[in-house]
């Protein structure tokens, strides 16, 4: 009944945010119940970019389905592909060459930096600061160039294949990555100057969108959102894959649980990614970049689950195989889906501005949620 008249009896306003809204980063549709500026309820309506990827994958071969997943969470396309490659390798018991593993991890971390940069710029833009957008995209563009040279695409690379990576690294790769690292370390300082230290920004962030550790667990939040509330949830530490157990890096844990803590986690994660790349980039072993696999891959009958840490958190791929060339059932457990469910809890009683800030720090990628 409330929905029909647009207001509830207490004079609350029901307002649609999205699907076309600058702050929803795509097509998230949220129905806000407002009392003046105060948010009483946030109700997500999904499906505006539901492309039935899971259904599609049931009719694609194990080589083919990887490319669809890069359209899922397009900001961590490499990492999605990585997860799919890993699960196929797990099913086939393929040993991936060391070189491929190194390349994969470097690519993952570059992707993570690029993704966090986009998050940083988009979040700043949600908060009304425009210049960060351009500064972050300058760095992102450098990563894109590196990617483009090696993978042949800027965003949805489709570089990982079961058994390794698709092509050899570009000769300039190492050199460019190293110079990028040098530049990026300088740039991180600029980010602090422009946004992190800014008094307006801190007031917008601190104490906003608080979520406790218990709530994080029960809402199933992952990634920076969980780590900002003190939950150790980095899959790279919990269940290391490829060469993550060989590199040294810190799992960033903050205990604030508010937007600022989430912000800090991501900013610090970028420097950790740099640290990982620095350790690997000079030590890429020689050898094959791809293991020999059959032309048609068939996973044995059974169930497989692979978890990886994307830029947004834990991505799980669950495959039920019947022994055919296509998966019988596939399920992507996307990080954004569970993070989104905590949004209502975070912003109740806050103002519209806080809601935008909280949503910015959740770093949602909607196709990842809708799949």
């Amino acid at each position: 009944m409330f929905e029909e008249i647009g207001t509830t009896e207490e004079g609350d306003l029901i307002i649609n945010v999205g699907p076309q809204h600058p702050a929803t980063h795509g097509v998230l549709h949220l129905v806000l119940t407002l009392n003046g500026e105060i948010i009483k309820k946030v109700e997500p309506h999904l499906g505006y970019i539901h492309r039935s990827i899971e259904k599609m994958c049931e009719s694609l071969s194990y080589r083919q389905f990887i490319y669809v997943t890069s359209r899922m969470d397009y900001l961590s396309a490499h990492i999605n592909n990585h997860a799919c490659a890993l699960i196929v390798e797990k099913g086939l018991n393929v040993e991936v060459p060391q070189r491929a593993q190194y390349i994969r991890v470097i690519m993952d971390e570059l992707t993570r930096i690029a993704s966090h940069e986009l998050w940083w710029s988009a979040m700043s833009m949600d908060l009304g600061a425009f210049t960060p957008y351009f500064l972050a995209f300058r760095e992102r563009e450098k990563i894109n160039e590196i990617m483009e040279e090696t993978c042949g695409a800027r965003l949805t690379m489709n570089y990982m294949v079961p058994g390794g990576v698709m092509t050899e690294l570009h000769p300039d790769f190492q050199e460019k990555v190293k110079s990028f690292i040098v530049d990026f370390k300088k740039t991180l300082h600029e980010y602090d100057e422009l946004i992190t230290g800014n008094v307006i920004f801190q007031n917008r962030m601190k104490g906003v969108g608080y979520i406790s550790k218990e709530d994080v667990i029960t809402y199933g939040c992952t990634g920076p959102v969980a780590r900002a509330s003190g939950l150790r949830s980095d899959i790279r530490k919990i269940a290391p894959y490829d060469v993550y157990d060989k590199v040294e890096f810190d799992e960033i844990i903050e205990t604030g649980g508010d937007c600022f803590a989430r912000y800090q986690v991501r900013i610090k994660e970028m420097s950790q990614s740099i640290r990982i790349i620095e350790q690997l980039i000079d030590n890429i072993p020689e050898g094959d970049f791809q293991a020999k696999t059959k032309a048609v891959l068939k996973l044995p009958k059974g169930e497989f689950y692979q978890r990886v840490e994307t830029a947004r958190g834990e991505l799980g791929v669950y495959i039920v195989s019947e022994g055919a060339a296509q998966p019988y059932k596939i399920k992507f457990r996307s990080p954004g889906f569970s993070n989104l469910s905590a949004l209502d809890h975070m912003v109740r009683g806050h103002k519209i501005g806080d809601f935008i800030a909280a949503m910015g720090t959740l770093d949602l990628v909607i196709p990842d949620i809708d799949r």
Binding site: Y67, E148, G152, T156, V199
Partner: protein, 158 residues
Amino acid sequence: MFLADYIKDVYGAVKSLLTGMKLTGYYFTHHKEIITEEYPNNRATLKLADRFKGEVWMPHDENNEHACTGCSSCEIACPNGSIKIVSMNVINAEGKKKKAIDQHIYRLDMCTMCGLCVEACPTDAIHMRNTFELSVFDRNHLIMRLNKPGSKIREGVE
């Protein structure tokens, strides 16, 4: 002390704001930081990465010959059916009937540039090309025939 805190607050706030303004001011006064590339004016000098996947392309040599046998590997490898091979039977010199390619139809409007077709091709007949100026006003123009009219398969390619 309340008043001291108050003044400290104001001072800290103003300082942080000025730090931000310093950065934007730096960029405002240092025009060499501008990184814009003027696309339509720099077409002559624009160098894209060689590996950039812009569209699928079938190289033809000077005799208008290509290396496609019409084996359909690419069609099978393509995850979303953007390649269609129309084959025909030709009679070769020895008088044998042989399957050969008539049209290699490529749907650029659906292609996702994943490169699986290039990987799959046994004769290296198709490549990814780094062209990008492909905008059209009618989407039918995006359905392309890759083998040029009158082209033949190169000798010795099986």
